[in-house]
């Protein structure tokens, strides 16, 4: 078989399957860790940014002993129902330091027909709302009529554009973009639809709240504070309005995002450290394997020199071998990581219990290129030492070595 200088690097790799496999394995692990880690970190940051955008209120006032439930509702908790009455909510809205206030009602649905999840039903007031509307506006610019619904990204909407809840089909006017938060498992109705929902629940299951509260139940008052006030000051002002308001629950969405951001930053820092350590170790292993093989191959290269190959040609062979290993290992590593990260995206998000939102395709393509390029560069850098060592001695002396 005739082998020219272009085919020689490939033949060298083929004829030494064990060495090639060992080098490939190292590069695959490094590229897998780099690509997998970067995708995870990016998705967590995308989810966090989305969560910060969605929790757009300074203060959330909820009934007594429900602050934790309300926090869970904003992050990763299960659907829940709690409420106070509208007159209390109206009084809260009048407190000193309140710039904007809007009321929301939360109802937890039952798991309905097959393959339906328990949903969080959120009743909001489109006239005063400043939290949901900016997000809704991206998908729906009309007015949410009575009886209509807006569905979160993960909600199962049937082919005819409805959701079956409490034995009744509710028309869905728009499905919202994914946020990576619990809001993706929610449906939104306007406040005036809440009594109809309560009535429907009474017909098929345990009534979600007593009928007399249906028209006046408010679960939370979301507040944006006026300039010069802090959320804590406004909370104190609200407590001072009435003696019974002392027991109200106060949730500070800014605090929740700060806590989540801290856990996320810790996780990303550990992930970065892990990948960095792995890459340093990988680089050492690669350099060690390449330089060991350089010793083995001294005679092989000396023979090539005697046959007329220049040092440049030998360097090209080594460079091509390492680049092929880097490229193949890089592509394989990215493929293996993709096979786990993309299909299991929802499971990863659920297990991490942090906002997790898939990054856009352009960013993913960029990361693929970066991971493969890094693998190629590392392999080539690993082989530089070999090139230097093989370039030093004279061919004749190397061939005579050991005689």
């Amino acid at each position: 078989m005739l082998i020219d200088m272009n085919k020689l690097p490939f033949e060298n790799l083929k004829r030494k399957p064990l060495r090639t496999t060992a080098l490939l394995a190292v590069v695959v692990v490094l590229s897998l860790a780099l690509f997998g880690g970067s995708i995870l970190a990016t998705n967590l940051n995308t989810g966090m940014a989305s969560m910060e955008r969605r929790l757009g209120a300074d203060l959330m006032v909820v009934p007594q002993n429900t602050a934790q439930k309300a926090e869970a509702l904003l992050t990763d908790g299960s659907p829940t129902t709690f409420y106070l009455t509208k007159d209390v909510a109206d009084q809260i809205s009048q407190a000193d330091g309140v710039a904007q206030a809007t009321q929301q009602t939360y109802i937890s649905s039952l798991a309905a027909a097959c393959c339906d999840e328990k949903l969080q039903i959120i009743g909001y007031d489109p006239a005063t709302d400043f939290v949901i509307e900016p997000w809704v506006a991206e998908q729906f610019d009309g007015t949410l009529e009575d009886g209509q619904m807006l569905a979160g990204a993960n909600v199962n909407v049937s082919a005819d554009g409805t959701i079956e809840l409490y034995g009744r089909d509710w028309p869905v006017v728009a499905q919202l973009a994914s946020t990576g938060t619990n809001l993706d498992n929610s449906v939104f109705i306007n406040q005036t639809t809440v009594p109809a929902m309560v009535e429907a629940s009474a017909k098929v299951a345990t009534q979600v709240m007593p009928e007399e509260y249906a028209g006046k139940a408010v679960s939370s008052v979301l507040i944006n504070v006026a300039e010069g006030y802090t959320a804590e000051t406004v909370a104190t002002n609200i407590q001072n309005l009435d003696a019974s308001f002392k027991d109200l629950g106060f949730v500070y969405p800014g605090g929740i995002t700060a806590t989540t951001r801290t856990s996320l930053n810790t996780l990303v820092a550990y992930l970065t450290l892990f990948i960095a350590v792995l890459w340093v170790m990988g680089a050492i292993v690669l350099i060690a394997v390449f330089s060991t093989s350089a010793n083995e191959r001294k005679r092989e290269f000396a023979s090539l020199r005697i046959m007329g190959a220049t040092r440049g040609m030998l360097n090209t062979i080594i460079l091509k071998e390492s680049a092929v290993i880097g490229l193949t290992g890089g592509v394989l590593g990215v493929a293996v990581a993709s096979l786990v990260i993309f299909p299991f995206s929802s499971l990863i998000g659920r297990q991490l219990q942090l906002p997790y939102l898939q990054a856009g395709p352009l960013l993913i393509c960029g990361m693929i290129v970066l991971a493969v390029a890094s693998a190629v560069v590392l392999s080539v850098v690993g082989s530089l030492l070999t090139m230097w060592r093989l370039g030093r001695p004279e061919a004749y002396l190397t061939l005579r070595e050991g005689e």
Binding site: C114, C115, V155, S346
Partner: protein
Amino acid sequence: MTKKLFAAVPTIVLGALIAIAPQTFAHACQGHDVPGACHYSQQAATGIGIVILLLGVIALFVEAKVRIGLNIAAALNAILLIAVPTVLIGVCSGAMMHCRAVMLPTLIVLGVLTIVFAGIAVWLDSRPAKRS
């Protein structure tokens, strides 16, 4: 011998996983009164997994040419496996439901791995034997 093992063992292991996973950790959604799409996908996947496993076992006892055919059959079954929860039968639509979050990706990953290993086995078996 190496080629035979490479043509048979991954197919046996992956076939067994495809048969077992939907009945154990990657199960369909539970607690429904009426079985839904995820339940039927689960049953179909188990059936396909058993077929792939049997193809792998047969590959242990036959010559290279037949193994090529068996691995092509395993790859086609793997395509069918991927098509069952994605196109032919489907799974629950809720993104957080267990069958969508765990069963669907597990079957896709196992299907892709079966196709890759069957492809490599076909390539190995179709190469001329080395002359000593």
